[in-house]
Amino acid sequence: MSLLEVSGVKKIYKARRGGTSVQALKNVSFTVEKGEYVAIMGESGSGKTTLLNILAALDKATEGSVILDGMNIGTIREAAMAKFRRDNLGYVFQEFNLLDTFTIEDNIYLPLVLAGKKNEEMRAKLDLLAPKLGISDLLKKYPYEVSGGQKQRAAVARALITDPKIILADEPTGALDSKSSDELLELFSEVNGMGQTILMVTHSTKAASHASRVMFIKDGIIFHQIYKGDSTDTQMYQKISDTLNLLAQGGELK
C-alpha cells in the first residue's frame, strides 16, 4: 500500500452569489510511496497550491479522496484535524511562517509543545536535529535576526521535529537567493536520503530536478510525470526543461 493515495480529487470554488464557479482541480489521482521525493510543477494558477492545501487538510476537496497511511483525510472531523496535521504532516512554507514572537528554538518546539511533549524529550530531539540542519548557533536568535536561508532551515527543522509521515513543501525556495536555495535543496535530498517522504510544490526547474519524480499539473489535472531514475540532477534538469517547453507551446506529449 502506498503512503499517500490521491484519487479523483476535484475542487470547485463557487462564487459567493451563485454566478460562475471555478474548477481549480478537475480530476487528480496519484500515489506517493514511502521514502519518495516528489515534486509537483506547474505555472501560477495551475492548481498546485490548491492541491497542496487539500493534502495538508487545510482545505477540503469537493470530490475524491486523499488517503494518508490508510487514513482518509476527508473523513477526519474538524476538531481532530489540527491534531492529525500536527502528528502526521510537516509543512514548509514559501514565506517561512515563523512567529516573530518566538526565538528560533521556540519556533521549532511549537508543534511539540502543542502536542504536550515533555521538555526533556523536546530538547533531545532538537539536539539531534540542529547540527544536521546547521542551525545550532541560531537557536537563541529571533527570526528577523537571521537570513532567509537560515529561516527556511529553521522552518524545515520545525517540520521535521515531529517525525512526520510526509513533508509538504510549498515553494520552499521561492523566497530564497540561489545559494540558499542550493543549500536547502541539498538539505532536502539529505533528509530524503534518511528515508523521509517529501512532497514539494514548485515552479523552479532547479528545485524539481532534485526530486526522484516530477509531476506536472496544468489546468487542474496531472498532465505528465517523469522519473529521475539513474539520471543526474543535470540530466533531470534537462528533461524537466524540455517538458516545460512542450507544455508552454501547448504541444501534445507522447
Binding site: 476538531a79 516573530d100 502543542l114 504536550g116 529571533y142 527570526p143 528577523y144 535576526e145
Partner: protein
Amino acid sequence: MRSGLYPKIAADGIRKNGRLYIPYIATSTLMIAVFYIMHMLGFTDILTNFAGSGTAKDMMIFGTYIMAIFGTIFLFYTQSALVKGRLKEFGLYSVLGMNRKDIGKIIFYETVITWAVSMAGGLLAGIGLSKLAELGFAKMIDVKASYDFYLSASSVCATILVYSFIFFLIFLNAYRQVRFADTINLISADKAGEKPPRANWFAGLTGFALLTAGYVIALKIEQPLAALMWFFIAVILVIIGTYLVLISGSVLMCRLLQKNRRFYYKTNHFVSVSSMACRMKRNGASLASICILITMILVMISSTSALYINREQTLSNHYPRQLNAVAMRYGYDSGYKEAGETFEEGINDLVSKYGASITDSVIYYDYTISGYYNDYKLDIDINPMENITTLDYDNVATVMFIGIDKYDELTGEDKSLEDGEAIVSSSGKLPIGTTIAVGDSVFSVKERSDRDFDKLCPDISLVSTIVIVVKDVDGVASGFADRMDVTGNPMICWNWKYCFDTDLNAEGQIELNGIIGHYMNQELPNLAHSTRYCASHEEQRNDFYKTFGGLFFLGILLSVIFLISCVLIIYYKQISEGFEDQSGFGIMQKVGMTRPEIKKSINSQMLMVFFIPIAFACLHLAFVLPIIHKLLMLFGHNNMPLLITCAGVSALICGIFYAVTYKFTSNAYLRIVS
C-alpha cells in the same frame, strides 16, 4: 481642487480605519469630557459651603492635572500605535510621488479632524453630563439645584487649550515617525519584527522604589492636615511607580517565566507568555492606565459611599445631642464661669417655657491652646509662618484643659488632683512623659488616661489633641491670659458647651433651637467678640444629606465616566492586538494548533494580562485606605470598618464589571484572529 485633496485623503483614511479610529476618538472624547467636568468642579464655585468642600475642590483640581497628564500619556500611546499600523499606507503614498511634507499634511488633517470631532463631542458630553448630574442631584437628595451646574466658560477655554496642546504634541510625534523613515522602511514597517524588550532592571527597581515610597508615605501619615499635601505626593509617586513597574516589571516577569522551562513549554503558556513578552512594553503603558483608572474609581466610590452611608453617625459626631448650645471666646476672662452659669439658667428657662423638659444633658467648659509639641513640651511661641518648611504637621497639637470636677462628672469617676498635677490623655501618637509642659507651665503627670475624649467632648479636631485634666482649670488658663500669637490675638480659647436631649419631636426641636439660638446671640453677658450659637441635630441633618449625597453622586458620575474610558481602552487594546496576532494564529493553525487550543491560549493570555491592573488597583486601594480614612476625618467621618466594607464592595462590583468587559472584548479579539 488640489487643496481639497489632503483633507479628503485624511477623512478617507479615518473612515477606512474606523475600527481603530472610532475607539480612539471615543476615548479622547471621554477624556475631554472628564477633564471639563473636573476642571469645572475644581476651579469654579460649585463645590462650596459644606464641611470639607475645600478638600473636595482640592481633589478635583488635582484630578484635573492628573487627567491632563494621563490623557497625554494615553493618547500618545494609542496614536503611535495607530500611525504604526498606517505606515505602509504612507509608504505607498510616498512611492506614488508624495513627499514627506505632503504626508505630513495628511497627518495634519487627520489630527485636525480627530481633534475637532473629539473636542466638540467631549465638550458636549461634558456639558450634557454635568446637566444630567444636576438633575441627578435633585432627584437623589430631594433638594432642588443644590449644585448648580452652569456652563463654565473658563472651563471650556481651559479644556480647549489643554487638549489642543496635547493634540498638537500628538501631531508632532506622528510627523516625526513619518519624517525620519525611509520609504522602503515605511512599506515594510508592519512586517518588521520587533525585538522583545530587554528587562530593564533600572526602571523596574526605580518603579518599585517609587511605589514603595508612595505606600510608605500613605501608611505613615498620622494627621489629616498633613495628609492632604502628602497624599498628593504619594499619589504621584504611585502613578509613576505603577507605570514603571508595569512596563519593565512585566517584561521582567515574562523573562523569568520563559526561563522556567517546565512552565514555559506548556501548550497553555507557551504562546501567551511569548507574545506577552513581546508586547509588554506597549502593554505595560495601557495596563498602567487601566490600573490607575480603576484605582481612581475604587477610591472615589469607596470614600463617597462611606461618607454617604455614614452620614447619620457623622451628624451625631458633630452634634451629639438634639440641641447643642456653644459659646467660645479667645482670651481669658474671669467672668467665664459666671457667663456659663447664666447661659445654662437662661436655656433651662427657655426650655421649660417652651413646655419641654430636658431628658439628658452634658455641660462643661474647657480651655484650648495650640502649639508645636516636641520633647514632651508644647511650644506655643513658635511662628508657624517662619517654620513652615521644617514643621512636622503630625506634631501640631491642641491642648485642652479641663477641670477635675468636670472630669469626674463626665466620667463618673472619683479622682482628685493637687495643683501642678495632671491626668493626661492624647489622641494621635504623641508621646506622654512623666511631666508635660505647656509654654512655661509644667505639670507632673499623675496618671495617663486612655479615655476616648473625642467621644466625651464632641469636637472633631483636625490636629492631635492632648487633654490635660487639672485641679483648677481657670487658674491654669489665667496663666496664659497675656500670651498672644503672631497676629496679636490671645492664644487661650474658652469653650463652653451645653448639649441636651429633649422630649420634643423634630419640628419642636428645630423651633426651640431657633429660640435658644436667638437668646444666645442677643441677650447675653457682656463678652465682646465671642461666638455663640445653638445647633440642632435635626436641622443639620438636611445639610449633611445634601452634602454627602451630592458627593456620592459625583463619585458615581465620575466613576461611570472612568469606567467607560477603561472599557474603551480595553476594547481598543484587544482590537489592535487582534489585528497584530491574526497572522501569528494563522501560522499556528497551520502548524497544528486546534481552535479550542487557540481559544484556551488566548484566554490564558488575557487572564494574565487583564487581571494584573485590577490586582494592582486593589493593592493600591489597600495601601491608600488609611490615608482616605484620615482625609474623610476632614469631613467628620470616622468609621474605618465601614470604609473597609465600602472598599471591598466597590472592588467586588468593579471586578465583576471588569470580568464582563473582559469577556466581551475577548470575544471581539477572538473574532478577529480566527
